[in-house]
């Protein structure tokens, strides 16, 4: 019974070894040049400290909105993939229609330049 969990245990051990190993070895043999920027906490390139009432560019919202739309697309494809055989050709065509509709939206968004940052 527990044997079936052996691969997972192996994976956990390998992952632990790799993560601890890479930290330890880079510390032991790596070269160190400290700068102020390198030592500050990582915040995706944003300044980590500042006013919370900052205004964000509307582009972030557009990207977030588009991400949601196309993310949802994939969510719908999971149950379809599970039922793929039973739904057969009809299900395949329905999914084709669904993707086609999103593709129209994608082409529209692309051509309108909503995917370009500047």
């Amino acid at each position: 019974m527990l044997d079936s969990y052996l691969p997972i245990l192996t994976l956990i051990i390998i992952a632990l070894c790799f993560s601890i190993g890479s930290v330890v070895f880079s510390r032991l043999i790596g070269e160190k040049r400290m700068t102020e920027l390198k030592m500050s906490p990582y915040e995706c390139g944003m300044p980590p400290v500042g006013s919370a009432r900052e205004r964000f560019s509307v582009k972030f919202y557009i990207i977030a909105m588009l991400f949601i739309v196309f993310d949802i697309e994939v969510v719908f494809m999971y149950p379809w993939a599970v039922m793929f055989k039973r739904l057969g050709l009809f299900g395949f065509m329905e999914m084709g229609v669904f993707i086609l509709i999103l593709l129209v939206g994608y082409a529209y968004v692309w051509k309108k330049g909503a995917l370009e940052w500047e």
Binding site: L87, F90, Y108
Partner: protein, 486 residues
């Protein structure tokens, strides 16, 4: 599990959604064509959307008398849905016809406008043909989201922004009510199919005075009553109607309102026929309140778009009278009235489209002083539409009101009919006042800016033809409306 999939596959019936499918295809195609053409080219969009509406109308028309049910009874393209669909299509076509020149004058020749109207129309069609709570909800959302964008379409104008935001926030809130009502009814009956809910409530009579059923009924009604702008859920209408682009105001006051009535009617008649005494009593009060609020507040308005918004609230009240009557003539009267209202209201707004200057600050009573003499055709057209809105013979408004009040009297609601007629009398005051300003005041303006673009003139002529056809020969259309009700 397997049965469920089999069942779903067997019950697909594309014919049930074919007309709206075609409309959506035209909308998406248009959206794609638009981005590959330079900015500001909109003529082609007008033509393509008109062709799309015509093709859709043809398929709706050929499906008359041949009801199609599909998707496990979630969609029913029956006569009821077909009649309402024709109303939406007429409404969308007239709106599109008058829009192009207006958008150019206001400086927004943006072609996304037309696909959005097509999507809103498709959503309205799903609302009318939905026989499942989810289909109705889906249609409502497709329609509403397109309308939110359209109401705020002039993004540089503060009023249009206000309209868009207000409509969106309040609309989203009312959708919450509707959805909560659906959830409660699902909790009571274990189904979202309208007919199954009706049968379940009939066979389980103990559920009829269950608080959950009644709360669900009231919340559902609230959602629909918001969309038809019935008092006390009418507060959004004046601001949104005033701020939105004029053709969109015309569209909103006719098409989506009819869609909400269609879904409301079907839900009440399919699910809650066992609770008829309760909901007719509720709607009796709301009908009276809506008529009085709409008509009395309209008297105080000086902005014409705002006045027509309150008049639109009052007309929703008249239509609610038909629902209270809840008999064949009352229901078919609603179908007839919404078609008649489409012609007369869109006609009135088409005249306003021409009468307005850029920015539309002159669309007040004072601003129309002497308009009727300076622009005789538009003056006469406006007079006809106002007569129809008042409900004077031989116009469509008279025939519509006649059927609805006849239904109320037949059902024994004499007092309701009396209140309705009294309200029509009140409405004479503010409609006639527009005519007084148009004809009995000296013109302060030369109205030189009023151009007569062909498309808008055609809109007005079609609307006049519709008003007189439905007013002089209401029998034929009424016969069709009678075939359409349950």
């Amino acid at each position: 599990m397997n049965d469920l999939v089999q069942n779903a596959l067997l019950n697909v019936n594309i014919a049930a959604i074919l007309p709206s499918l075609i409309l959506v295809c035209f909308g998406m195609g248009l959206l794609l064509i638009n981005v590959f053409l330079p900015r500001g080219t909109t003529r082609h969009a007008v033509w393509i959307s008109l062709i799309g509406l015509a093709v859709t109308g043809f398929f709706v028309y050929t499906g008359w008398g041949n009801p199609q049910y599909g998707f496990n009874d979630a969609v029913a393209m029956d006569n009821f849905a077909a009649f309402f669909s024709i109303t939406f299509l007429v409404c969308a076509a007239l709106t599109i016809l008058m829009s192009d020149d207006y958008l150019r004058r206001e400086g927004y020749p943006v072609s996304e406008y037309y696909p959005l109207i097509l999507f809103a129309t498709a959503g309205a069609m799903w609302m009318a043909s939905g026989t499942d709570m989810m289909t109705i909800f889906l249609g409502l959302e497709v329609m509403s989201i397109s309308l939110y964008v359209l109401a705020g379409f002039f993004r540089g104008q503060v009023k249009s922004n206000e309209a868009g935001l207000k409509y969106f926030l309040l609309g989203a809130f009312s959708t919450g009510f509707l959805l909560y009502g659906m959830a409660l009814i699902y909790g009571v009956s274990g189904s979202t199919r309208l007919t199954e809910i009706g049968v379940y409530l009939k066979t389980h009579a103990s559920l009829l005075d269950n608080p959950m059923t009644l709360a669900g009924l009231v919340l559902l009604s609230t959602g629909f009553l918001f969309k038809i702008a019935a008092a006390p859920f009418h507060m959004w209408a004046p601001d949104v109607y005033e701020g939105a682009p004029t053709p969109i105001t015309a569209f909103m006051s006719a098409g989506p309102k009819a869609a909400a009535f269609a879904a409301f009617l079907r839900v009440m008649e399919y699910c809650f026929f066992t609770l008829k005494p309760e909901w007719t009593a509720m709607l009796w009060v709301l009908a009276v309140l809506t008529m009085v609020v709409g008509n009395v507040i309209a008297i105080r308005q000086t902005n014409i778009k705002r006045m027509l918004a309150y008049s639109s609230i009052a007309h929703a009240g008249y239509v609610l009278v038909g629902m209270v009557a809840a008999n064949e003539i009352g229901y078919s009267g609603i179908l007839f009235y919404m078609l008649a209202y489409t012609f007369m209201n869109i006609g009135a707004f088409a005249v306003l489209v021409l009468a307005g200057k850029k920015g539309e600050d002159n669309l007040t009573l004072e601003g129309l002083s002497g308009f009727g003499f300076k622009k005789p055709f538009l003056g006469v057209a406006m007079t006809i539409f106002l007569f129809s809105l008042m409900g004077l013979p031989p116009t469509a408004g008279f025939a519509g009101k006649f059927y609805i009040f006849a239904g109320a009297i037949k059902a024994g609601y004499i007092w309701l009919a009396v209140i309705g007629v009294l309200n029509s009398a009140i409405s004479l005051y503010y409609y006639l006042r527009v005519m007084v300003y148009m004809y009995f005041r000296d013109p302060e303006e030369d109205y030189a800016w009023v151009a007569m673009p062909g498309a808008v003139v055609v809109t007005i002529i079609i609307a006049i033809a519709g008003v007189f056809y439905l007013g002089i020969m209401p029998g034929e259309v009424m016969e069709l409306a009678k075939q359409a009700v349950f």
